[in-house]
């Protein structure tokens, strides 16, 4: 293989330097044009007053915003105590812009039948939380059980939406 001339070596070095510059420039671009976080999630509930009682007084969630929006309309969001930046919107299923009369009825039926599982909550100690919530009348469809993927219980909210409950790795 013929040896590279001095000029060729300089050209290679320049190209390498340029590539490094490109990588550096790419690393400085902020991620502001990318999706970075989830800050609202909706749970459809049958009755917002009852959902308030369940999520705030039984689960111990904090009310983030509770704003009346006119007759029969209310914007109600709650947060898990250690996650104040994820608002859980407890959405009433009312006939209106979001639901036709028929869809609202279908949605109510599906929610009350326990069709929807909305996520996995985490606590510090599953057995203690299970005992406390059960004592407060929360309906568990599965007692804490060690599964291959983790220690888990399942419970339902007052509307019929179900959640998994796990515990923080200790």
């Amino acid at each position: 293989m013929p040896k590279a001339t001095a000029g060729q070596k300089i050209a290679i070095l320049k190209k390498l330097e340029f590539n490094r510059l490109l990588i550096f420039a790419a690393s400085t671009i902020k991620t502001s044009n990318m999706i970075t976080r989830l800050n609202h999630v909706s749970i459809f509930v049958l009755d917002q007053d009852s959902a308030y009682e369940f999520y705030v007084n039984k689960l111990g969630f904090k009310v983030h915003t509770d704003a009346p929006m006119g007759p029969g309309a209310r914007w109600l969001t709650v947060c898990a105590p250690e996650q104040p930046d994820l608002e859980i919107a407890l959405m009433a299923i009312n006939e209106g812009m979001m639901f036709s009369k028929e869809s609202a009825q279908q949605m109510r039926d599906l929610v009350s039948k326990g069709t929807f599982g909305f996520g996995v909550f985490e606590c510090n100690d599953l057995l203690a939380t299970y005992e406390e919530l059960k004592g407060k009348g929360v309906e568990f469809t599965k007692a804490p059980k060690q599964e291959f993927y983790g220690f888990e219980a399942l419970f339902k909210d007052d509307s019929g939406n179900w959640f998994s409950l796990g515990q923080k790795a200790k």
């Binding site: 309309a73 812009m97 203690a128 007692a143």
Partner: protein, 150 residues
């Protein structure tokens, strides 16, 4: 695993009972001995188990509950000194110090901030609702909730 088969369920029940005792009696002059008695434990064994379960010592948890309850009272515009005594603290200065350590701001600053938010929600509720939700519910079409600048 059924509820009967997990180990030491009685221990969990006693720890939970102690936690609930704090949740209910936080405003009283309770000390650790009261709480440990409630759970039928020796003091040190109790503190260890409580911390393992809730990641806070009983005393830290009691302070946390008092501060959390005080936030609700401050939101209702109760004067700071009254809030302090209503949640079980003896002195306003220790209440202010603990509140600031846990909440990051003083009780009076927190109260002002909450009152401001309350006024804003009342005056302009749409400001607090992501537009997609408001629009799909038809709330943006209701002129009562429209405001300049949104």
């Amino acid at each position: 695993m059924t509820e009967k088969s997990y180990p030491k369920v009685y221990l969990y029940r006693r720890i939970v009972r102690a936690k609930l005792y704090i949740d209910v009696n936080y405003a009283e002059n309770i000390d650790l001995d009261n709480i440990a008695d409630e759970a039928f434990f020796s003091k040190f064994h109790f503190i260890r188990l409580f911390k393992k379960t809730y990641a806070k010592t009983p005393h830290q948890y009691l302070t946390f509950v008092r501060v959390e309850r005080s936030k609700l009272l401050l939101q209702e515009n109760m004067p700071v000194a009254e809030v302090c005594h209503a949640v079980g603290f003896d002195s306003v200065s220790s209440f202010t110090g603990l509140f600031k350590r846990i909440a990051g701001i003083t009780p009076s600053a927190y109260q002002q901030e909450q009152q401001r938010i309350k006024r804003e929600i009342k005056a302009a509720p749409l400001k607090f609702i992501p537009n997609c939700f408001a629009e799909s519910n038809g709330w943006t079409k209701n002129s009562n909730f429209k405001e300049v600048g949104i």
